[in-house]
């Protein structure tokens, strides 16, 4: 399997706190890779390192075989895009204008707005379904619409690799699915390699083609969801007893957390029969 993006024996650390040691990961080309793991397992840190936002204390991130920190920010930005966890829309900025900022790495002082820029911005807005909002102000939009605008901006960057840091956080379930469907479409139709950090294990299992499961700065398992998502692994990674069944919609693994058993309860979900709640 080909890997344009990988991390080799990385030590990832903030100031004094070491998050991961000797961490090696590879992102298969044209995959939809999802990184999962409990809070503070280092998955967002890993994504930041892969995105060139955090320089590994040891080891290296390789992009097309070259240390990512030996390339200029602009040259990396033409190959690898990122949707950060929090971005700030300047006051009063319009949708089309914000999406157009994704063209920055391709622009020059005297080449500010080529026909190609214009075409790609229009296509990016169409692909994310925000073309109708082009003239609206970003601060008037709903959370889901806004997230699609930010994804459109990242698409306008026209990078074969796109990293997304928790793209569904703060969205309701319908908008979460909408964003994930959009990601899946970008992956399938445009052939981009996507890497996302997701919190929801079932979303990860349904949408990912490649899963990386992390715990305490280590990769516990990596591979297709059908192989990675097992009851044993979920217990090991999340310390959560569960059953894994087939998702009746998609056939992918579905994690069903074990119900909390109460003393004297006949069935796990029955209530009101135990002595503790009897009058």
């Amino acid at each position: 399997m080909q890997h344009r993006l990988s991390g080799e024996a990385m030590t990832l650390a903030y100031e004094r706190r070491t998050v991961a040691q000797d961490l090696t990961v590879a992102v298969p080309d044209r995959s939809f890779t999802v990184i999962i793991g409990p809070n503070a397992c280092g998955k967002s840190t890993l994504l930041r390192a892969l995105a060139r936002l955090l320089r590994p204390a040891a080891g290296a991130v390789l992009l097309d075989g070259e240390d990512i920190h030996r390339r200029s920010a602009r040259s990396v930005a033409r190959t690898l895009g990122l949707l950060p966890q929090s971005s700030i829309a300047p006051d009063g900025i319009g949708v089309a204008e914000l999406v157009a900022r994704g063209r920055y790495p391709h622009q020059r002082l005297l080449r500010q707005w080529s026909r190609e820029d214009e075409r790609i911005v229009t296509e990016s807005m169409a692909a994310t379904g925000v073309a109708d909002l082009a003239d609206r102000a970003v601060d008037e939009l709903s959370g889901g619409q806004r997230q699609r605008v930010w994804i459109a901006m990242a698409l306008a960057q026209q990078t074969p690799l796109l990293l997304l840091d928790e793209p569904t956080t703060y969205l309701d379930i319908a908008h979460q699915i909408e964003i994930l469907d959009l990601c899946a479409r970008l992956h399938e139709e445009q052939g981009r390699t996507l890497v996302a950090v997701l919190h929801d294990l079932n979303h990860a299992a349904r949408y990912a083609t490649h899963l990386i499961a992390m715990r305490e700065g280590r990769v516990v398992a990596a591979g297709p969801p059908a192989e990675v998502v097992t009851a044993e692994l979920v217990e090991e990674v999340f310390r959560l007893p569960c059953r894994v069944i087939d998702d009746p919609e998609s056939g992918t693994p579905l994690v069903v957390p074990a119900a909390r058993r109460r003393a004297g309860a006949g069935t796990p979900w029955a209530t009101g029969t135990s002595a503790a709640v009897a009058p």
């Binding site: 936002l53 920010a73 950060p84 971005s87 300047p90 900025i93 790495p105 005297l110 080449r111 707005w113």
Partner: protein
């Protein structure tokens, strides 16, 4: 938005509204300037002023306009433009409309440098140099205290407010140590004044603007617009955030310090002008050039007002900018509050 494209692949994006605002304010500053050059103990008509400027005046007119009045006008234009430009950069970098050199401590630092010279005794040239040094040292100090693997705007503002408070205390102490006559001169300087400014005051700032505006501010303007999206987003778009921010901060602190050396710490221009420019252009982003034009017009107008508002009694220009700027801020807070945005 207008797009100009040439067959050679050159393409430029222009905002008509921003162009109109920038040109309009530059024209306003020019008109106010001609008015300023013609007014005083020896009044001249606008036509006479223009004739003298183009080399057709009598030796007396020549002397009055180019030697007596023009240096003051050029100082006002440069100080207004420099403060507005620096203010626009700070506001954009800290992503907060309150990010001005007055709040971040750089002006107080320049004042401390100048007051030290007042206490120790020294020429006005030394005073200017000390003001520049004071501003730059404060800039380095604030940056060093606020930076920790990145420079979030709120931390810069909080550290700036702290440094401002300390320096205000230091400045108060220095004032009490100064001999009475010098203290009076120092207070005038601290208010911000253009009285008796000559070419020696205007020139350093003029040179700095001529170099920094095209090289740093226009060259890095697009990157500054990206930094407004957040450090992570800007990095992802290929901006070397730390380097660009340091360069812009340094250049803006230098401008503020030179402006303070030229005219004292003129208050509120750096806060008001970029804000006013943004409201007029209705364009998101730093609006650097329109802000410069607004700042220049603001300071030239304020200086006219300061000289003519009370016949026979001149005010330091800092009093007028303080009243106008403070009033604008209060009005703004009131309207924003009514509009439910605050």
């Amino acid at each position: 938005m207008i797009v100009l494209r040439t067959p050679g692949g050159v393409s430029l994006r222009l905002r008509p509204r921003a162009l109109v605002v920038g040109a309009g304010c530059a024209l306003l500053a020019a008109a106010l300037g001609v008015l300023a050059l013609g007014s005083g103990d020896y009044p001249m008509s606008a036509a006479d002023v223009l004739r003298t400027l183009t080399g057709g005046g009598s030796p007396a007119e020549e002397f009055i306009v180019t030697e007596l009045r023009l240096p003051r006008l050029v100082t006002a234009v440069c100080v207004g433009a420099a403060l507005a430009l620096a203010g626009a950069v700070f506001q954009s970098l800290v992503r907060n409309p309150l990010g001005s050199p007055d709040v971040l401590g750089f002006t107080q630092g320049a004042s401390t440098g100048a007051l030290l010279v007042v206490v120790v005794g020294g020429s006005s040239l030394a005073l200017g140099a000390a003001a520049v040094a004071g501003g730059l040292v404060t800039g380095v100090l604030v940056h060093a205290l606020a930076w920790r693997h990145g420079l979030p705007g709120f931390r810069l503002i909080l550290v700036g407010i702290g440094v401002t408070a300390i320096l205000t205390g230091v400045n108060g102490y220095l004032l009490t140590r100064a001999p009475l006559m010098d203290a009076a001169r120092a207070v005038l300087w601290l208010t911000g004044s253009l009285d008796g400014r000559g070419w020696v005051n205007a020139l350093p700032l003029l040179i700095a603007l001529a170099v920094l505006v095209p090289v740093v501010f226009l060259g890095r303007g697009p990157a500054l617009r990206m930094i407004e999206l957040g450090d992570d987003a800007a990095s992802a778009l290929g901006v070397p955030v730390e380097r660009v921010r340091l360069l812009l901060l340094g250049a803006a602190v230098l401008l503020v310090s030179l402006a303070a050396a030229a005219a004292g710490p003129v208050s509120f221009v750096a806060l008001t002008a970029p804000h006013l420019a943004r409201r007029l252009t209705r364009a998101p982003g730093p609006n650097l050039l329109p802000a410069m034009a607004v700042g220049a017009a603001l300071l030239v107008g304020a200086d006219q007002l300061a000289q003519r508002a009370f016949s026979g009694h001149q005010l330091p220009v800092g009093v007028v900018t303080g009243v106008i700027g403070g009033g604008y801020l209060v009005w703004l807070l009131a309207t924003e509050r009514k509009a439910g945005r605050l």
